[in-house]
């Protein structure tokens, strides 16, 4: 788990942690029931006040993204919360925007791009026969 904080970019440090952890969960790099580092460990790693980490964890617990089990630590909660889904859509939308911009610049219109996406998607999904042949 890699998190970076920068104290002087105008965003409070605890918010930087909140949004990066949201991103890690939404993008699947942290999975349900994965354990998060203890507050003190993350504070030492990021060189920030432990209260700041505690505040970020608290905020994410309230949003249903993390769950703290007494005595055993903090974990990613099971089941995508509505917020996690919204976050996932946000991430995908950002990528799509970048893709659209690049495609348009290269003279490929949106309909053509959608066709390319379908084609690539079909290529990525191995059919049942193919999967059998690999087994």
């Amino acid at each position: 788990m890699r998190i970076h904080v920068s104290p002087d970019n105008g965003v409070p440090i605890y918010m930087q942690i909140v949004s990066q952890l949201k991103y890690l969960v939404a993008s699947g790099r942290l999975s349900p029931s994965d354990e998060l580092p203890p507050i003190r460990t993350l504070a030492e790693q990021l060189l920030i006040n432990p209260n700041t980490v505690a505040r970020a964890y608290r905020e994410l617990e309230q949003a249903g993204i993390l769950i703290s089990k007494r005595g055993s630590g903090t974990f990613v909660s099971d089941g995508g919360s509505p917020l996690a889904r919204r976050e996932r859509m946000r991430i995908v939308s950002e990528r799509v925007d970048a893709l659209l911009a690049e495609a348009h610049q290269l003279g490929i219109d949106t309909d053509e791009l959608i066709q390319v996406i379908r084609k690539r998607d079909a290529n990525m999904k191995p059919g049942p026969e193919e999967r059998n042949s690999h087994d």
Partner: protein, 309 residues
Amino acid sequence: MTDTTPDAAMEMEQADCPVVVRNLLRTFGKKTALDRVNLSVPKGAVFGLVGENGAGKTTLIRHLLGLLRPESGRVRIFDMDPVEVPERVLARIGYLSEDRDLPNWARISELMRFTSSFYPTWDPVYAEELREMLQLDPDARVRNLSRGERAKAGLLIALAYRPELLILDEPSAGLDALVRRHILAAIIRTVADEGRTVIFSSHLLDEVERVADRIAMIDHGRIILSGPLDEVKAQHRLLTLQFAEPRKQLDLPGALFCEGTGRDWSVVSNGRLEELRAALVELHAEVVEERDPSLEEVFLARVRTTQHP
């Protein structure tokens, strides 16, 4: 006598504040080094003392350690007077001075043994752990240490007896990034241990912003701003403005500090935002960006305002 006398208020506050300073005054010749300083540091806090060189940070710290006697006013550490009972106070304080005054004749191992004899709470296992973590050679002589190693040695002997209060005077000054990391990590470990308190002075405001939860800003011997870091930051806003016509000068109600040239200006407000916005509408200024300022931006705005009122 009523409860509202300063002394009674001070006694009440003392309960959860290992450090209380009231109306502390100190002059050196004609210069006022500390001008009626008031300060309370609650237990468990990481307290950042910020100010320019010569603002009075070290003088204040020397009063906390009982190295200077208050000219007037009071200093109470763990509810004791550090000038009256220095040995009882200092046994509970870990201190890293700005000039890292260590005995030059000693080897690291001797420095550790020598220091341990002063502190009943010295933890030899922890001391050895720290030595290894900080990569200090036990046979190296203090006189041959680099600047960074000297700071690490000073840090080791300030931490190894697990003091209730850790005071660091400009711990990062002149050190490379790696040693600075060790120092910040030590601050974090200290405060993460239940109930320990840290006071550190620094002019590296991004470090203060990382680890402090309370700050006091000192300028020309006066505390010009103090409180929880979140509150201090929330009291300020930074606005980037663009005017239709270039301006030579800008003076806005509700603004603490204005800076810029031509059409582009930035303004730090100290909370009187309504007043400021009204003035901006009148001047046809466009707000290009608005955000919370960093501690450094707050500091610069505050200090420059005091210097050029």
